[in-house]
Structures are given as C-alpha cells and as structure tokens.
Symmetry: C2
Subunit: 224 residues, 2 copies
C-alpha cells in the first residue's frame, strides 16, 4: 500500500521545520510548499529549500506572487518599520490574510496530488498576536475547505493538521530536537541578512531566543 501524502507549509522558520519533522515521523510522503510573496527576508526561502532537501521530501515547490502589491504589513512594505520590541495586540508584522492565502494555495495542491493532510506550524505563542493562528480560525478554515473542493464534496477532503498549536516555543524546540531537527538551518528573523544571519532584536528573534533559553537548549541561531 502506498503511503499517504501530506502538504507541509514550509517557511524556513523553526515552527514549520518542526511540523515537517512531525509529518515525516507520522509516516507521510511529504510535499513541501514555500511562498515567495514579497517578504523582506529572502534567506528564509533558502532555508526552506535546505530543510526540504535534508528531509528528502517528494517535491518542494516555491510559488511566486507579490503580496507586497497590496501593502499594509511591515513584512512586505518597506515604508513600515520592523519593531524592535514585542507589541501589544496585533503586530504590524501581521500580513493581511496570510495564513488564509497560504492554506488556500496548499488546498489546491493537496487536491491535485490527493494529499490527505496539510501541516501548518502555527503555535500558541504566535496566536496571541495573529488572528489567523488561533484554533477557532483553523476550525473555520477546515469547515470551509470541506465545502470548497471536489475531494471535500466527495467525502475525502484534506485535513488541516496543526501539531504545534498548543505548544510553547520551548516545547516545540524540545520536540524538534527529539526528532533530529537542525535548528541552525532555520531562519526566523524578519530581517535576516543575505547569509541568513539573524538581527537578534525583532519580535521573531526574541521569541525564538526565549524558546531556546526556556528549553535549556543551546541557541544554534547564526546572528549578525
């Protein structure tokens, strides 16, 4: 019997690398999907490619589209500064409808290759700020997906898996280490340099560093 397939949304960051390791451990044939959507940091795409190769995915695709043409986020709009401290409420690094767009594109690919799962590395640290990382959002997306697709209508639609959603950053890191994830390859920084060196001061760097500290694991991040 051939193995079941899973699409993994792979950003090149710590969380999605862990989600891929979990999907692989669960025995899926993995198809990884990254997006070149106009984000400032292109090195995360290099990281995603490396992580896909190391994990021997069946296929890694990078879809190009310029989400920056809509503007409105510090991650795609050069006129909005990346903040240097954790903000209250929804941060300016929020990209409008990003997870909805990414999951929708994954849904399309899942239907074509007949994947049974889509793995998304959202987690509890993120969802305090981003609305599209919360469990109730994921549930609503699943409900919509069940009605949206030929496979869903036929009763064998794809399931969204969010194995990290209830974990803290340090728990994610501990789980990833146990699965052999090399976090030195991952890039979380919102403004990494061309070689993937992290800034150490943006929200994402701070959350990541705290995760390694809390996990009692040496931080393998390459800083500038």
């Amino acid at each position: 019997m051939s193995k079941q397939k899973a699409i993994i949304l792979l950003s090149g960051g710590l969380d999605s690398a862990t989600a891929l390791a979990i999907a692989k451990k669960q025995g899926y044939d993995c198809y990884s999907l990254s997006f070149n959507y106009g984000q400032r940091s292109q090195t995360e795409l290099d990281a995603a490619r490396k992580i896909a190769t190391v994990n021997a995915v069946i296929e890694h695709k990078i879809l190009d589209f310029n989400l920056g043409m809509f503007g409105g986020s510090a991650l795609t709009d050069d006129e909005i500064e990346i903040p240097e401290s954790l903000e209250e409420g929804i941060p300016v690094t929020y990209v409008p409808a990003r997870n909805t767009i990414f999951l929708s594109l994954a849904l399309g690919w899942a239907e074509v290759v007949d994947a049974k799962k889509i793995f998304l590395g959202v987690n509890s640290v993120d969802y305090s700020g981003y609305p599209d990382c919360r469990p109730e959002y994921i549930k609503a997306f699943q409900n919509m997906a069940d009605l949206a697709t030929k496979a869903g209508v036929e009763g064998h639609g794809v399931q969204i898996e969010t194995p990290l959603i209830d974990l803290t950053k340090s728990e994610i890191i501990q789980q990833g280490i146990a699965l052999g994830v090399d976090y030195g390859e991952t890039v979380s920084c919102y403004q990494a340099d061309g070689e993937g060196h992290a800034c150490a001061i943006c929200d994402s760097c701070r959350l990541r560093k705290k995760g390694f500290d809390d996990a009692g694991v040496e931080d393998p991040t390459r800083y500038q």
Copy 2:
C-alpha cells in the same frame, strides 16, 4: 462622508462584469482584482482591464501567480482537453480551490484598503458543477474570514457579496443590460483566441449563448 469601498473579483467574463456594475450602482468605490494564474486564455485579462477602465474603478490590480504549477485542471493544464459538451458532475475545467484562493487574496487587499465588501460573480448555473460556487460554501468562507483578519476580529470585517448567486444566466444578462454593461467587451470562452474571439463550443460558450437566447437579447459575442 467618503464612500465605502468594495473589492470586485473581475475575471473579464460576463458574470464578474455584471457584479462590478451592481457594486457601482450600489454606490461603492470599486477596486477590481484580476489574476494571471496560468489560465489558457489570456484575453480575458485584456477584457478585465477594459471593463475596469470603462467603469472608472479607483484601482485595478492584476496579481500574477502560476496556479498551473499544481496542474489538475483543463484550464491551466495543457495535457487536459477542454470538453466540447456540458458534463455531468464536477467538470474537468474545475480549478482546484480557485475561488478559495481568489477570495483569500481579495480578503488581503480588502483589509489593506479597508473595503467593506468583496463582490464575487458566482451564480446558480455555475454552482451545479463547481463546489466553490455554492451558497453553503460562501457562507463558510464568510465565517472563516470573520475569524481570519484583524478587521474581522475587531468586528468590522469584510462581507462577501454574491448578487448573482440565485440568478440564471439570462437573468444576469437582463440585469446587466439594464445597468448598461457592454457584454461585447466580456470574454467567457475557455479557449478564446488572441483577439478575444470565442470558440462557441466549450461549456462556458454554450452556457453564455443559451443565456442570451433565453434573455431574448442579441448575442454580442465575437466568435472565431
């Protein structure tokens, strides 16, 4: 008081041109969005541009992304033939997750410009075949969108409007004619030539022709 804004998903076809005319009639400042997603027929994008100009939209954007890289549809995959007769069930021209992807991208732009509505020209003729044209799908997308975005979380999220959903093709045409839509500018054909001349034999051409016949309106379509 400034007018409210609406995003209109504009394919260049008959339905979306009518949806735009309805949004304009309702008094919205209109922002039209088209996609260059790897569809065979590029002339529909030219048609969309013309329709946007004629209707004096505030802004018309065309987002490029290659949905064809996933394959799986006769509309983006050259290896799947466009059928010459109406099919039973879900047709091969179905593009996996297309409306979900398009609505998700519109949702992102809506949030950035603070649009209150997204107009989508789905209708009852289409939804007999495409799962993502049915009212229950639209309702589920709305529910998901309310949870997905900063605006939704803050209680002023965008509303999806489908003014054609309960209309037949002939009713849509009659409504459009009353609003002054020039259907000679629209392209519905799945395989129109470079000048926008329709094939007259694909599903989309047949449905359109029947619509004009049933409406008792002369068919302005430019055929090959």
